[in-house]
Symmetry: none
Subunit: 392 residues, 2 copies
């Protein structure tokens, strides 16, 4: 029997536009929790319908009896039935099954995130590769406050590993919000090692007796970085092992749709209540950092058509080593190098001038103005802002 727990808040919070509304979407039950076995539930969903999967599968911890702290108190370890497997073979078969099911529901441009520890992550990673997923990064979550090693027989296990993979070999077309990640990291590229505290305090779900609802609840900050890095507002995020609902709660807050699958009714119920209480961020707070890649393309010729630059104008590079003449059709003619191959696009001409294979002509070529040399890219910016004004 399938129980679909719809989230009322998610519906109320939905914004206009088909891509942002909740509910059934081509057979995909948006913004809801499917209670049941993840492989069975995944197989009911339409193929190629999900943008991002985040999976926190059982770690298969294989703990050897109970662990005590130096003061003889007992460590509350993960000993739930769902984390037990008879053998590595059994764990591999389970991993293979859910990965294949995930693969089917993923869009061709979709990506998968999996988190694990050394107990299981090597098996998951190898299986991913065997199934022709394409690893994009492995990410290390460094914990600011890990559990110490009580016996003093190993290094403090202070991290967990995430794998980020595209659905298909050579994966192209996936979402990576490079500029946003860079901006969030002091304007240098975001690295593969992330630092976050473990989930505790108010964020940690507790039952009426004050016991933690789920033994391995992940911090929202970790999931938020994942969604902000590799999905867009309105995307569909699926979590096949929803647990306490962190993925869904963060997805809702960040204006992404979610589909959660959870077998355990206690977890599913706690997740539903948690998600209902989430207030989505306003659109303005979700606007992504401007991406040069996604900006509309402008043909150099259109600058001429708009009168921003006249045919016959001479362009130079920043150090005035090369010169090129602007022609009426939007091509450049190199002044210095005579003969064939001296005419071409701004990019081709820049490459030819320097003897390189490639060149971004927008930033290479400059125009003499009253205030000195300026890159022709500044003219492109003028066109883009004019287009933006006209569109409103």
């Amino acid at each position: 029997m399938k129980l679909v727990v719809r989230n009322g808040e998610a519906r109320r919070a939905s914004r206009p536009g088909a891509s942002r509304s909740s509910g059934l979407n081509g057979g995909l039950p948006l913004d809801s929790i499917l209670q049941g076995d993840c492989i069975a539930e995944l197989s009911r969903l339409p193929a190629h319908s999900v943008d991002l999967v985040f999976a926190d599968p059982p770690y298969n911890l294989q703990l050897q009896g109970e662990l005590k702290r130096p003061d003889d108190s007992r460590v509350d370890a993960v000993d739930d039935a769902w984390d037990k497997f008879e053998s590595f073979q059994a764990y591999d078969a389970f991993t293979r099954a859910w990965l294949l099911a995930v693969r089917r529901v993923l869009k061709p441009t979709g990506t998968l995130w999996v988190i694990g520890s050394y107990h299981n992550i090597f098996r998951v990673g190898a299986m991913l590769q065997d199934l022709d997923f394409w690893i994009l990064n492995d990410i290390v979550w460094r914990k600011t406050n890990p559990m110490p090693n009580f016996r003093g027989r190993r290094f403090t296990n202070a991290h967990e590993t995430l794998i980020w993979a595209a659905r298909d070999p050579g994966g192209k077309g996936y979402t990576f919000n490079y500029e946003a990640m860079k901006a969030a990291n002091e304007d240098v590229q975001m690295r593969s090692d992330w630092l976050f505290p473990i989930c505790s305090g108010h964020e940690r779900l507790k039952d009426d007796d004050g016991h933690k609802v789920h033994p391995t609840q992940k911090p929202e900050a970790l999931i938020a970085r994942i969604l902000l890095a590799s999905s867009k507002p309105g995307d569909v995020v699926l979590d096949p092992f929803l647990g306490s609902g962190t993925t869904a709660a963060v997805a809702k807050r960040l204006g992404r749709h979610f589909v959660g699958i959870e077998r355990d009714s206690t977890y599913a119920e706690a997740a539903r209540a948690r998600i209902d209480a989430v207030q989505p961020l306003p659109d303005a707070a979700l606007a992504s950092a401007p991406s040069a890649r996604e900006a509309p393309r402008i043909a150099f010729a259109s600058l001429i058509e708009r009168g921003l630059i006249a045919p016959g104008t001479m362009l130079t590079d920043a150090k005035s080593r090369y010169r090129a003449l602007v022609r009426a059709d939007g091509t450049l003619s190199l002044e210095t190098a005579p003969g064939l191959g001296t005419v071409g696009s701004i990019h081709r001409a820049g490459a030819l001038a320097q003897g390189l294979d490639a060149c971004n002509g927008w930033t290479f070529w400059h125009l003499e103005t009253g205030e000195g040399l300026r890159p022709i890219d500044s003219l492109r910016a003028v066109v883009r802002s004019e287009m933006a004004m006209a569109a409103e």
Copy 2:
């Protein structure tokens, strides 16, 4: 044909006592490089004779085409034949074969370290588990200066992964120098995430043309931490993929025996010359740190790891009344006071020397430089600024 390259310096530097002398030891060719295929060479060695294996196998990078930097310069990729495999299956078969061969030569109490990237480490880790090795930790080497992601399509790949495993399930009896690691880490447990620069500068081996001898030479600081953490002086350290000889050079410096296996004659020859030039540290610099639970906080070891101060260096106070020897694990050994309790952190050693209860070792101990005595605190400032740069 087997060529055994014996290292003369290693013989001359050897100390009295069977466990520290070089040469054939029950069939184990100590302190030498075996030139040949690692599986063939391993199978010739006596079983259960090695304490520690460090392995840096081919990563199977599977690079697609050439990559250029934004300035159009070409990235010098690892495209050597030894890194190419036909398929994951072929790589797995190779991995299985060398792991089994390593397993045979390891003592029952021996441990194995393997380093890799996401291209291969998941397969290595899964195979380790399949072969009944027992994973103790996975360790993340965070690079202070990784190569950036030039196309802005992924997170900067800023780390590599190491797996530390015992030979047998439930592994017992292995060496872990807990106290030394803790003392080297500001008196808190050493974590599973380590920060080191990549190998460059003077440490990087270059040929007569100034080209790097080996494309993937590892930093000595990384190997030193491994040997200091998980081996004892006099132990036998084996590297089945010796390459430029980092493992052997560090082992010799730290008073461990080494056995290196390398197929490529150019690499083997470069390694031999490198190892010959290594001066082993004096015994006094190697004795293990005392198990003092309440040792004072120090970060002194990081100066050693970063090469700002060499093990074996003599420190004095500002008026040159007391002297102490710097040891590889970051502790000091007082020269004047014989007997027990003369080894400890820089603070403890300073207090002991003066007969006081406490002492700030950073300002007490000085280093002779060309410009006179300088407090070691001036070196800490260097590390602090580096760490501040690397921290998030």
